[in-house]
């Protein structure tokens, strides 16, 4: 008997060993059909047609060709100032957010605020506000305090408070409970227990998180200008509007270098903090 015949005979006798059972195969097929229908419906809804795609891609190649070589343009001083503004916005915004988030993080930590309802509701508020993107804050602050980097600074601070408060609360919950307990046992008040038992433990962790959020805020500070909140984003949006593609690519490269430099610096500081 040949091998092929053996396999065929075995396949007939033990169909289960050679594949999924029929109901599973039917479910797979059904899933694939549903997926294709979903994809087709989305394409129809969003007007995604091959003609439109090919037109867009060819336009994109034209832009990419115009982007080389990058050029600083005539107003390179504005670009540098925008970059400095972005970094300053990120730095100050992160600092303000960290200063406000520290007490909030203490309130949200289970081992500091023992009341479960208070702790739960504070946490949910942090989670909820994290759903509001930084650009929404920026747009609102531009309406409130006017165009310029101040709006961006406030937007970064407002959006980052909730993120940092949540991270702080989690770090504080992971702290060793024996040290604050010993302060309490030695006759210290609850405030003293937090100051001398809890904070020294968690401070390096919190600082590392602040540095992380400074890195991520530098990235987002670079785009807040798109809605008028100052910084390099304003420069890039203006140049895209007038189609100075070589200057756009110059600014993008400049942002990449700045972000890489800040990442490097912050990683150095973090290493010395943790060690």
């Amino acid at each position: 008997m040949s091998d092929a015949a053996t396999v065929a005979r075995l396949r007939a006798r033990f169909p289960r060993a050679f594949g999924r059972p029929p109901w599973q195969r039917a479910a797979w097929a059904l899933g694939c059909v549903a997926f294709v229908i979903w994809l087709g419906a989305l394409c129809a809804w969003f007007d995604i047609t091959p003609a439109r795609l090919s037109r867009g891609v060819s336009g994109l190649f034209v832009i990419l060709r115009l982007m080389v070589p990058p050029s600083p343009g005539a107003q390179w001083a504005d670009i540098l100032q925008g970059l400095a503004q972005s970094v300053a916005m990120a730095f100050l915004g992160t600092f303000v957010a960290a200063a406000i988030a520290l007490p909030l993080g203490l309130l949200g930590a289970r081992n500091v605020v023992v009341n479960a309802l208070a702790h739960f509701s504070i946490r949910r508020v942090f989670d909820g506000f994290r759903g509001v993107d930084q650009l929404i804050w920026a747009l609102a602050f531009v309406r409130a305090v006017g165009l310029g980097p101040l709006a961006g600074l406030l937007a970064i601070a407002a959006a980052e408070i909730c993120v940092l408060a949540k991270l702080f609360a989690e770090a504080i919950e992971n702290a060793d409970p024996r040290q604050p307990e010993s302060v309490l046992a030695a006759g210290g008040s609850r405030l003293l227990a937090i100051r001398f038992g809890l904070l020294p433990q968690v401070l390096p962790v919190l600082l590392a998180q602040v540095l992380y959020s400074f890195e991520s805020n530098t990235r987002s500070a670079a785009i807040l200008g798109v809605v008028g909140a100052g910084g390099i984003g304003l420069q890039i949006a203006e140049r895209i509007k007038v189609r100075y593609w070589d200057e756009v690519s110059f600014i993008i490269i400049l942002i990449l270098i700045t972000v890489a430099a800040i990442d490097f610096l912050s990683a150095r500081i973090r290493r010395t903090l943790i060690a």
Binding site: L39, L42, W45, F46, D47, I48, R52, R55, G56, V57, G59, L60, I63, A84, Q85, V87, A88, M89, F91, L92, F95, D127, G128, F129, G131, V132, D133, L135, I136, L139, A140, F141, R143, A144, V145, G146, G148, P149, L150, G152, L153, L154, R219, S220, A222, I223, V226, V227, G230, I236, A237, I240, R243, V248, I252, I255, L256, V259
Partner: protein
């Protein structure tokens, strides 16, 4: 005994002085940095003092005008929930559109990331050149924020969701590709060696030795990215790339205060719901193998 105590005392004082000095230097540097950045970002005390009441006033106006006795009255009654959310059907549809944009963009971004991540993993790359080319390509995709992609793509693809989807997808390629490559680098190499020893080529080894190990983690990262992309899709409309962002931009620009808070609340609810669902799915995806 007494000498020992005195020595301890002096040593402690010296250490204390050194620590105070170091603390003072760090504080001084921090203060200088803060002052310089306040000056550069135009956060002058006068501007802050002038801005603070306006910020308070603005956000106070955003608060919905709800009155308890008529809370559940119809759309026509001022002070009811229905009056506040009077365009609920349109906003919910826009939110659905936003989530679908994010889903399609995540899918479109995950496919190239899946192709690029294996050559970008140090342990799987066929050679150094392919490895560094793929790594740099992923970095390039990741470094440009999606809103900048959207600004450029709106020029070539026209205003509408398509530009937003492609913009988010481009950024997703880089973000997911990096995470995928890191997962692949941590994969167990023994199945890989087994497939290669049995005569399988590179693609077969990736398919049968690595992919089954990493698929749950990949799925979990795709879901995580979907959550991030939903947030991104809510604002991508600010530059004309579709979704709820376009509507939000309009109501903020025209100072329709109540509508701003209504849309913001809907966005928060929608994002939280998607986060919770995706968190459940993620634990399911990872838990299935362990």
């Amino acid at each position: 005994m007494k000498d020992g105590l005195a020595a301890l005392e002096t040593a402690w004082r010296a250490r204390r002085r050194a620590r105070l000095l170091a603390g003072a230097i760090v504080t001084a540097i921090l203060l200088v940095c803060l002052a310089v950045s306040a000056w550069v970002s135009e956060a002058y005390p006068s501007a802050l003092l002038a801005g603070a009441p306006r910020v308070g006033e603005y956000f106070a106006r955003l608060l919905p005008d709800l009155r308890l006795p008529v809370l559940f009255a119809g759309t026509a009654t001022q002070g009811s929930l229905a009056y506040w959310m009077y365009r609920l059907d349109i906003w919910l549809w826009l939110l659905f559109e936003t989530s679908q944009m994010a889903a399609l963009a995540t899918l479109l971004g995950a496919l190239p990331a899946l192709l690029l991540c294996f050559p970008a993993a140090a342990n799987l790359a066929p050679n150094r050149v392919v490895y560094s080319v793929c790594r740099r390509a992923l970095e390039l995709f990741r470094c440009v924020p999606d809103i900048v992609y959207a600004l450029i793509l709106v020029w070539t693809f026209g205003i509408g969701p398509l530009a937003g989807i492609l913009a988010i997808a481009l950024h997703t390629v880089g973000a997911l590709g990096k995470l995928f490559a890191e997962v692949a680098e941590n994969a167990d190499m023994r199945p890989w060696e087994g497939v290669r020893a049995a005569g399988g080529n590179w693609a077969q080894a990736v398919r049968y030795a690595i992919l089954p190990q990493v698929a749950p983690n990949f799925l979990s990262y795709i879901l995580l990215r979907f959550e991030v992309n939903v947030r991104g899709a809510t604002v991508i409309g600010f530059v004309g790339a579709g979704g709820i962002g376009q509507e939000l931009y309009a109501v903020i620009s025209f100072n329709y205060y109540q509508e701003i808070s209504a849309i913001a609340v809907l966005i928060i609810l929608c994002v939280s719901a998607i986060d919770l669902t995706s968190e459940k799915l993620r634990t399911l995806a990872i838990g299935r193998t362990t």
